[in-house]
């Protein structure tokens, strides 16, 4: 239940309503059978189609996939900020055991910020252009933690120092356009951390930044989350970034999770041909040039997805049984799961790859 010493009133209320037992449940966030439908002129788009995952306390889960695979929609659905044309057809989003989907708007507003927050891809558009950054960072503590203006400012300056913004006293009064891209993303991180959440959802937070800044921001994010025990859900299409940040990874394709497991197991030893394709199409300077192999074809239509395995039209290993029915997510040993009927072929293909590379070197 809530801490005995009791924090500020709004936070205590939120805790009481959530009726949780933080010690018993090892997962901060559990998402079950999430389905998001988007109405469009050409039909109903099944943007997220039965996604389930859980995030252990203090760990980082990567959600990987190409554009349109449903990664961002999943995050928005978790937070309950879907665009008006999208709606959640089914699913549970349990934060500390409480289903966020069933909370009222005002209760949800007390959870968003102090318990769960989000970092966006474009730090420019995600910051209000006509509000001073200091005000934007201090808004959360003032509303959710009940801080006075002076105390919130003190906390904001402290946060700005922690995320590495130089000269915070002066920058407090600056507007977002006076910041560089990397500095803006630091501001976003400060906002996300401002109410000490348990979990932060990151929607490709470094994609819009240039590579040198990317690395700084990632290191900062990982360090701050480890310091304060914050869990992460990290959406990206960048495999090296996942390896750097996350312990667990879930690969998404066509609105579904196709493979899941420990990040190093999955990336070094994929058990789904799509993951294999992603690994092969990631450039690697150490290997020879022809090791870069793109996945043929285009992502499936989510209005009328292919029968059977959604990846079969692009898959080298597809057999007749891949083309009909539905392929479920199968649990494997070592906490892994795959949606492939012939996953052992991936291991063979990878072994062949390595043998070929060994031969050329």
């Amino acid at each position: 239940m809530s801490e005995p010493e009791g924090r500020e009133a709004p936070r205590r209320r939120a805790n009481q309503e959530m009726l949780t037992n933080e010690q018993l449940n090892p997962n901060v966030l559990e998402v079950e059978d999430l389905r998001v439908r988007i109405a469009s002129k050409r039909g109903v788009v099944r943007a997220v189609d039965g996604v389930s995952f859980e995030v252990p306390r203090g760990e980082a889960l990567g959600l990987v996939g190409e554009s349109g695979s449903g990664k961002s929609m999943t995050l928005k659905a978790v937070l309950g900020v879907l665009p008006p044309e999208a709606h959640m057809a089914s699913g549970q989003v349990r934060l500390d055991g409480t289903d966020l989907v069933r909370l009222s708007q005002s209760t949800l507003n007390r959870v968003r910020g102090p318990k769960i927050s989000m970092i966006f891809q474009e730090p420019m558009s995600a910051l209000n252009p006509v509000m001073r950054v200091g005000q934007q960072i201090s808004e959360g503590p003032r509303i959710h933690l009940g801080y006075s203006r002076a105390r919130a400012e003190e906390r904001t300056l402290d946060l700005m120092r922690r995320v590495g913004i130089p000269d915070p006293e002066r920058r407090y009064r600056a507007y977002p356009h006076e910041f560089s891209g990397g500095m803006r993303q630091r501001v976003m991180i400060a906002i996300a951390l401002s109410c000490e959440p348990e979990i932060i959802l990151c929607d490709e937070p470094t994609t819009a930044l240039d590579v040198t800044i990317q690395d700084q921001i990632l290191r900062l994010l990982v360090r701050l989350c480890q310091e304060s025990g914050v869990s992460l859900v990290f959406v990206t299409h960048d495999l090296p970034v996942v390896a750097q940040v996350c312990q667990q990874v879930a690969v998404m394709y066509g609105g579904q999770i196709v493979e899941r497991g420990d990040v190093h197991d999955v990336l070094l030893n994929p058990r789904h041909p799509y993951t294999l394709g992603l690994v092969r199409s990631a450039p690697d300077v150490e290997y020879v040039q022809d090791s870069l192999r793109p996945i043929p074809g285009a992502p499936p239509s989510l209005i009328d997805p292919p029968d059977g395995c959604r990846f079969h039209p692009r898959c080298d290993f597809a057999e007749d049984d891949c083309r009909t029915g539905t392929v479920p997510l199968r649990l494997l040993d070592g906490g892994r799961a795959t949606r492939c009927l012939h996953y052992e072929r991936c291991g063979e293909a990878l072994a062949a790859d390595r043998a070929a590379q060994g031969a050329t070197q």
Binding site: L79, V111, G113, A126, L127, I191
Partner: protein, 298 residues
């Protein structure tokens, strides 16, 4: 025209900038390089100074009659002559500007606030709130502006209060439309999503995050709306529906002078030109502000 601003031209000091502080922050560093804005500010600044300093610029009382000195031509004693009741025209012009400008500046506030609030609610929440507000807008827009204002003041009875009520009822619709449209665009921005993700209430997102981003468009419109309001106030005065006599008012001055148009043209023409000059000055300010505040221009 020059006769209007000539006496005030000797006033020391530059025209006071009338840029309200809310927009002042967003006005770029080079606002003073805008020729339209600068000339508008000078014109309106001088007129406001003249109107406010009226008791210092003239020794006559705008309502005291002197029937022995009626319908005099311009002279050193009476710069613009006197009307049929012997009242100094220059004095009545200054006091008339005072009354009309005050009413216009107050009258523009109510529709601005009402329209902005209703437009924000309609744009942000959509659904039935939007339907109700926009149907109300349609009803008001179905009538021509002046017809509705004059009819409303006629029903409510002449006087300042009626003018405020009538202009509010008719004028809010334009602000509601502008703000609703701007909110519809702005609420799709990612910073709104970020604010929602931060657990902020809808009212706070509207008031603190959206409104400051969209208010400049409503503000630009207010600058042209105030011109329309001044014309409406003068028109009502002309029809005898404005501020009751003997208080000086440009509309009633134009009407009073009408009977003497062939012999004493200045009685009607001078207040008419004053209205034109005020309208010109405010339009120039509106154009200049639009250039500065319009998105995508720096």
């Amino acid at each position: 025209m020059s006769t209007v601003s000539l006496p005030t031209g000797t006033e020391p000091g530059p025209g006071a900038p009338v840029v309200p502080s809310a927009a002042g922050r967003r006005v770029g560093r080079r606002w003073y390089r805008q020729p339209a804005l600068m000339s508008g500010l000078v014109i309106i600044g001088l007129i406001i100074i003249a109107a406010v300093a009226a008791p210092l610029l003239t020794s006559y009382n705008p309502t005291t009659q002197n029937l022995t000195a009626s319908l005099l031509g311009p002279s050193a004693h009476h710069l613009l002559g006197t009307d049929q009741l012997g009242r100094d025209t220059f004095t009545r012009l200054l006091y008339g500007l005072r009354v009309d400008l005050r009413i216009a500046f107050i009258a523009v506030l109510f529709p601005f606030v009402l329209g902005t609030v209703l437009g924000s609610l309609a744009g942000y929440f959509g659904g039935w709130v939007d339907v109700i507000v926009m149907r109300l807008v349609d009803i008001v827009v179905a009538f021509p502006f002046y017809v509705l204002v004059i009819a409303l003041v006629f029903v409510l009875g002449p006087g300042e209060r009626s003018i405020y009520i009538a202009i509010t009822i008719v004028g809010w619709v334009s602000y509601a439309r502008i703000v609703r449209g701007e909110i519809l665009v702005a609420k799709r921005q990612e910073y709104v999503l970020a604010a929602q993700s931060g657990g902020l209430s809808s009212l706070r997102i509207m008031g603190r995050h959206l409104l400051p981003n969209v208010i400049s468009q409503a503000f630009i419109y207010a600058m042209s709306d105030i011109v329309q309001d001044i014309l409406a106030i003068v028109t009502l005065g002309y029809f005898g529906l404005g501020v009751p006599p003997p208080t000086a008012d440009l509309g009633s001055m134009i009407n009073d002078g009408q009977n003497f148009l062939s012999t004493h043209w200045q009685l009607t023409t001078i207040p008419g030109l004053a209205v034109v000059l005020v309208g010109l000055g405010l339009s120039l300010i509106g154009d200049g502000l639009a250039d500065i505040l319009r998105p995508g221009q720096s």
